[in-house]
């Protein structure tokens, strides 16, 4: 997809392991900070936001046995760029459901949305959603073994 292709870099695909959501958010936050993609304060912002306004997305409504995802993001002032960061988790981590925060979901993929623009034109979410809500696309993602395969898959998908 064109928009995803513009937002994604090969080095922004990660395979990670963590025990809980705070641990993975802090771990990824540190990496993004080291790469200069985000500003000081990003980590605290993203951890706090996930507590208050969770970002887990339940894909069981799209298809049976699909992995769930989360789309952590922060306020635009903590980001230096407009990028998508994709994390495949070695084992599922519990996140709360964005549209029903009292419910927990087991999440396998994280799509961090880094956005430094306050304008209303930011429609990264809608492009991402149109990918996530196609059962065949998410199933295809599940079959990939390497970060390079994931990258090629995401940028070549129409």
């Amino acid at each position: 997809m064109k928009v995803i292709r513009e937002l994604l870099n090969k080095e922004l695909i990660f395979f990670e392991n963590a025990d809980n959501k705070e641990e993975i958010l802090r771990k990824m936050g540190r990496k993004l900070l080291e790469n200069g993609l985000v500003k000081e304060g990003f980590i605290e912002s993203i951890v706090k936001r996930e507590e208050k306004y969770p970002t887990g997305i339940d894909l069981s409504v799209v298809g049976e046995d699909l992995p769930n995802v989360a789309i952590p993001h922060s306020e635009p002032e903590y980001s230096n760029c407009k990028k998508l960061v994709v994390v495949k988790l070695e084992k599922d981590i519990k996140f709360n459901n964005m549209i029903d925060p009292s419910k927990e979901l087991k999440v396998k993929y994280l799509f961090f949305i880094l956005n430094n623009e306050k304008s209303n034109q930011t429609n990264i979410l809608s492009h991402l959603m149109s990918f996530l809500t196609q059962e065949s696309k998410m199933k295809g993602l599940e079959n990939l073994k390497t970060k390079d395969e994931v990258y090629q898959y995401l940028i070549s998908n129409k």
């Binding site: 409504v61 799209v62 964005m98 809608s126």
Partner: protein
Amino acid sequence: MIKILTACGAGINSSHQIKTAIEEEMRNRGYDVAVDAVVIKDITEEMLKEYDIFAPIAKPDFGFEIYIPIVEAGPILYRIPSMSEPVFDEMEQIIKSINK
């Protein structure tokens, strides 16, 4: 004119997407609506009094009572009919009951 307020947590403008979707669908169904999108933390009790319907992504806990009808609009973000239709139907029912 039915005034609707939607809200999200800021960062990726999800409330703006909800605003656009509600306006389009409700106009298609023949209703005169105006939707404002704001950041959840900016909402006050006073502000809500200006609206007929509150349509946040998910029901927030403000620490004050909300006296207008609430429609949880998050499912619209999936952009698939099986998720969004029930939200629009609920909203249409409320609009009819407001009978402005």
